[in-house]
């Protein structure tokens, strides 16, 4: 009964319902317009909603997240420019379809399968998160520490051109997160004697700088690229077409949910793996992959939307983000005085069921908005970037200032924005930085708890890790991911294959 009441909260409260609808609508545009990312939008939004109650703030952010993941497919199909990294695979077959005059058909099928994928991810969240949460209570501090390391390592190894740069970025994030007074001993860390650093570096300033300003600066390289105009044909797909691709959609939704639930991985990786799966299991596609195969749209789009529900599983049960957006959402929950993890699920189950319900509503709104107003949408996407980018930069500055009414935060934001811009230019992934900032406290606290409980003895800690099945699996995963990216691995396996 309590669950039902919590599920009904966003449905019966018109304000929350409207915020989810507005968020989803805005998210579709944010995701679709190249240069605007969901991560950027959610990070800017935190600064404006931090004084709100937690439910309205979450309602808006969830809507933007769900709409944004789907919205990225629009420009991937229409312009061959993925609006979000999760839509990279969608462009491979979506754009050829648009070139053949089937842009409407492609958008229609993508909308419906995104809805299906999103729905499966939410069901997985509702079923597995409570189970995982019960299990997570038994996690030892060393398990949390290993999970944190695993998350940073995973996102570092998958999101950039090199694992070393990914690890560097993750370590930088952990270092940034530890700036200020140590909460346990009140020792100053990396403050260099300045008062302004005692409270730490503003998380929101880092986030907006890294994802708002740096992305905006990168987009300036292509600011005068002329927009391509597309004609829209039939939009709503036939039931026969949906039914035909449902089996593949269900498989790739499961892939998306699992990949999304892995700490540190998100919709972009899920979509690419699902696309690869589709090319292997589809024996005789009507149109070859890469030339406009419907299967090439179904697989990535079900997977990336399923990954949304999946990404919330580790976030809500373990306090470990599934991807960059959930990392920012954890930051938002911290700002609202909440601490995601197994205790949140036990002490505030209403929050969990509210999120499930809000995600479901956002998924429904995504379907409605996705199938309507496409022609007007095409016009807005054609808006010149030279006008859009200054507005995004202005919003970023206002957002950074608004959190603490402090110009220092604006300077931090600018500093991190320029730094993030150079990192991007030279191939460093930014995702691990923000993940590192978020996980810094978890890593630090749990490392210290773990080593204190083992009497400051590293050998005892290792023995305990090897004796516990869960710790052993996590430890082995960390070692394997690391080894898999070293030349040694390639040497051994190439020799065996030969």
């Amino acid at each position: 009964m309590d669950i039902l009441n919590s599920l009904l909260v966003p449905i019966l409260d018109l304000k929350l319902l409207a915020l989810i609808a507005i968020g989803t609508f805005a998210g579709i545009y944010v995701g679709a317009i190249p240069g605007l990312s969901v991560t950027m939008a959610v990070s800017i939004l935190i600064s404006f909603t931090f004084s709100w109650e937690v439910y309205p703030a979450l309602a808006l952010m969830i809507g933007i997240y769900m709409g944004g993941v789907y919205g990225g497919s629009r420009t991937a199909i229409l312009l061959n420019i993925p609006g979000a990294p999760a839509a990279i695979a969608t462009a491979l077959d979506g754009y050829p379809m648009a070139q053949q005059g089937k842009a409407g058909e492609a958008i229609g099928i993508v909308t419906v399968v995104s809805f299906i994928g999103g729905f499966i991810g939410i069901i997985a969240l509702a079923v597995f998160a409570p189970l995982l949460s019960d299990f997570a209570i038994r996690f030892q501090p060393r398990d949390y520490f290993l999970l944190g390391v695993l998350g940073i390592l995973l996102v570092g190894s998958l999101s950039g051109e090199s694992l070393v740069k990914g690890i560097f970025a993750g370590a930088l994030g952990v270092g940034l997160g530890s700036v200020g007074m140590d909460p346990l001993t009140y020792t100053e860390r990396f403050t260099f004697g300045t008062d302004g650093l005692r409270a730490g570096v503003s998380f929101v300033a880092v986030m907006i700088g890294m994802f708002g300003i740096s992305e905006g600066l990168m987009q300036l390289h292509t600011v005068n690229t002329p927009s391509v105009k597309q004609k829209i044909s039939r939009i709503v797909p036939s039931w026969a077409q949906v039914r035909k691709h449902l089996p593949l959609g269900l498989q790739t939704s499961s892939i998306g949910t699992i990949i999304g639930a892995l700490p540190g991985t998100g919709g972009d990786i899920a979509a690419l793996i699902a696309y690869d799966h589709a090319t292997r299991v589809t024996r005789n596609p009507e149109v070859p992959f890469g030339k406009g195969a419907i299967e090439g749209l179904v697989a990535p789009e079900t997977a990336n939307n399923a990954a949304v529900g999946g990404a919330f599983i580790p976030m809500l049960t373990l306090g470990i983000p599934g991807d960059a957006v959930t990392a920012i959402m954890i930051g938002a929950l911290f700002i609202h005085g909440l601490n995601p993890g197994p205790m949140l699920m036990i002490e505030q189950p209403d929050m969990f069921w509210f999120i499930v319900s809000a995600l479901t509503l956002a998924n429904v709104f995504m379907l409605i908005f996705g199938l309507t107003g496409i022609k007007a949408f095409v016009k807005i996407v054609e808006m010149p970037r030279a006008v859009l980018l200054p507005v995004i930069l202005l919003l970023s500055i206002v957002g950074a200032y608004a959190v603490g009414n402090s110009l220092t935060d604006v300077y931090w934001m600018l500093g991190f924005g320029v730094f993030g811009y150079f990192m991007k230019l030279y191939g460093y992934p930014l995702g691990p930085v923000i993940l590192g900032v978020i996980l810094s406290r978890l890593l630090d606290d749990n490392w210290r708890r773990a080593i204190i409980s083992d009497q400051e003895n590293l050998w005892m800690l290792l023995k305990g890790t090897l004796a516990s099945p869960l710790s052993l699996v996590l430890f082995a995963s960390v070692v394997l991911i690391f080894l898999a990216k070293t030349p040694l691995w390639g040497l051994v396996f190439r020799k065996k294959a030969a």
Binding site: F48, T49, S51, E161, S162, V164, K165, I167, F168, A171, L172, V174, G175, S178, D182, L184, T185, T187, E188, R189, F190, F192, I213, G216, L217, L220, H221, V223, P384, A386, V387, L389, P390, V391, L393, L394, L395, I397, V398, Y401, A402, N405, L407, V410, Y411, L414, G417, V418, Y421, F422, L425, Y426, S440, L443, W447, R448, I451, I452, E456, L458
Partner: protein, 171 residues
């Protein structure tokens, strides 16, 4: 054999700065608690910065091995004029925000940047900026109640006028 992507202009300087910064942070982390205990407040920062330093050195080795990119230049591909002007404009915005206030600073910021980036005429850029700033102000100052520095603008009177307008008393 996999071919190495070429080294971009400025990449070596950036990498050297990363290595230098990491070593400096490692030294600072050592200064927190030295090797006092594995659970000391400096333990995680020490390991983190050591990881940064090791990774930085590995990246430096890889960067040195890369062949230099000859077709790219700093002025065109790394710091083109729009990027330099935009960074300067954001800095100028932060400097002028307190003395001038949110409304005039934002208007100037948008007008200059839109004129520069889009090449629009001054009146057209100013008109777009005016409409955008008005929308942002209404949304964030009135709806989200975000406090912004009023500066030289009599913001209290403007807000009172907007409230009166919505209350049906505006004249």
């Amino acid at each position: 054999m996999q071919s190495q992507p070429p080294r971009r202009p400025g990449e070596l300087i950036f990498t050297l700065a990363m290595v230098g910064g990491s070593l400096f942070l490692l030294w600072s982390a050592y200064g927190i608690a030295g090797f006092e205990a594995l659970s000391s407040p400096g333990a995680v920062p020490l390991v983190t910065t050591a990881v940064m330093a090791v990774c930085g050195l590995l990246i430096l080795r890889d960067t040195l091995r890369k062949p230099a990119q000859t077709s790219e230049t700093v002025a065109r591909d790394i710091l083109p004029m729009p990027v330099v002007v935009t960074i300067a404009m954001v800095g100028a915005y932060a400097l002028l925000l307190k003395p001038l206030g949110f409304l005039p600073t934002s208007f100037l910021f948008l007008t200059v940047l839109i004129r520069f980036l889009a090449g629009y005429s001054l009146p057209r850029a100013a008109l777009i900026s005016l409409a955008t700033v008005a929308l942002i102000y209404l949304l964030f100052r009135v709806v989200f109640t975000v406090l912004m520095p009023p500066g030289i603008v009599p913001e209290g009177e403007i807000l009172a006028w907007i409230k009166a307008l919505f209350a049906g008393k505006g004249n």
